[in-house]
Amino acid sequence: MQDPILEVSNLSIRYPGAPADSVRGVSFVLGRERLGVVGESGSGKSTVGRALLKLLPGARITADQLRFEDLDLLALSEAEMLKVRGRRMSMILQDPKFSLNPIQRVGRQVAETYLRHFPVSRAEAKAKTLEMLAAVNIRDPERVHELYPHEISGGMGQRVMIAMMLLADPDLVIADEPTSALDVTVRLQVLNILDGLVRDRGIGLIMISHDLNLVRNFCDRVLIMYAGRVVETLKAGEFHKAQHPYTRGLLAAQPRIGGPRKPLAVLDRRPEWTEEQPA
């Protein structure tokens, strides 16, 4: 793969006081592509995302390599990370209701990252903000700029978060369940906007989700995580070729429109899934 943005090899993470590693031996390389990370609750998928931004205070992060472009993330100090977060690498969180500051106007929050990282005036930042709000299909950016988070809908809130994260033009965006809090109809609009922006700007995207349909339709490649490990990596179009029993179990457990009305297949969890797999 030419020009990798992110190289992770043998990443392990242990939370303070935990008896075992929450993430074990995760390795992957990300280019200018959309990579999905799926798994059930507790599989460690969000922990991987947070570790990349070093947002796990107290946790022990070890890896043979954790390289983001020219930076060795493991060696960076907190002060140096502040220049990376939001500027070169940013994260879109699940629920705009909890991720936006309820007592600040939308425009000011979106502009904050830009003002923080670039030597620009407030007027220039506002112009950039309005442009970005328009880019995420907000029809009346001037008006939305002055609204508080409780005055906008969930779908619009999520688009505001996307605007906020893309404003500083990062090279890598980590989206952690970006549409789980949204209705199906709104979900597709938000995904299409995110997809368009990521493609146009050549951003690397890591999409963390528990939703197989979402990653299958919106990513190029998918890592499947189980109990802190990557058990399988699949091209999005090749889910039918899944080998690992966990992946196959997940696919079979999903009710499908037009599917047979037989009882759904239930996962038969095997202890050996948590063990080292031959690659």
């Binding site: 597709l188 528990h210 339709n217 499908r256 996962l267």
Partner: protein, 253 residues
């Protein structure tokens, strides 16, 4: 035991006169005994509100709700609880964190003065596929799927005829969702239970329900058989959009 449900002109209005605001303009539908009826629509469309009205958790509605032909409001509380029970969306929020499963399940038995508590609780646990010794566990000692099983056991312990299911699997992982859906399907088959199920997932509707209503802004736009999903046979524009989006989402468009 099984029961029919008939809802006619269910509405909620705030205020009076010309300033009155109708949040639920008028909902009417009927569910046959043993049927599984789905309610779908975007957040805020009123689908959970309908369940709350039928369970009388919300009482400020007008209109008529009949269970097996009997007026819901005319039924004494205890009798109503023996007929209708509800399972909530979030098993983390709907079980008392400081009550053991035994306490949770025993409470309705005590209120209703039923005999053989121990036997009924054991049977309820077995019915929902939990080990009997889980009776002495607390919610924090259970996984999300196990908690939802306890919530279903609590709903079933009074042997109701109608279960109101408010997004019973949307807080759960796919693999756990499959277990709960299988459980609900089996219980319905074994006991002829009638279900009214709120969900936002049309794949779940297609798997579980016989018919479903698409709601928008508190109104039912269209009632469709589940077969209408695959070919998108809806006629109302919103219902069409919702089904199209769901098909698209599954990569079937």
């Amino acid at each position: 035991m099984t029961a029919s449900l008939e809802i006619r002109d269910l509405s909620i209005t705030f205020g009076e006169g010309p300033d009155a605001v109708k949040v639920l303009p008028s909902v009417s539908f009927s569910v046959a005994p043993g049927e599984c009826f789905g309610l779908v629509g975007e957040s805020g469309s009123g689908k959970s509100t309908v369940l709350r009205c039928v369970s009388l958790l919300t009482t400020i509605w007008s209109g008529e709700v009949r269970i097996d032909g009997r007026d819901l409001r005319g039924l004494p509380l205890k009798q109503r609880c023996r007929l209708i029970q509800m399972v909530f969306q979030d098993p983390y929020g709907s079980l008392h964190p400081r009550q053991s499963v035994r306490t949770t399940l025993a409470e309705p038995l005590r209120i209703h003065g039923l005999d053989d508590h121990e036997g009924r609780m054991k049977r309820a646990m077995i019915d929902v596929g939990l080990p009997v010794d889980f009776l002495d566990r607390f919610p924090h000692q259970l996984s999300g799927g196990q908690r939802q099983r306890v919530a279903i056991a609590r709903a079933l312990i009074l042997e109701p005829a109608l279960l109101l299911l408010d997004e019973p699997t949307s807080a759960l992982d796919v693999s756990v969702q499959a277990e709960i859906l299988n459980l609900l399907a089996r219980l319905r088959e074994e006991r002829g239970l009638t279900y009214v199920m709120v969900t936002h997932d049309l794949a779940v509707v297609d798997h579980m329900c016989d018919r479903f209503a698409v709601m928008l802004h508190g109104e039912i736009t269209e009632i469709l058989p589940r077969e209408a999903i695959l070919g998108n046979q809806a006629t109302h524009p919103y219902a069409r959009e919702l089904i199209a989006a769901s098909l698209d989402y599954e990569g079937r468009a």
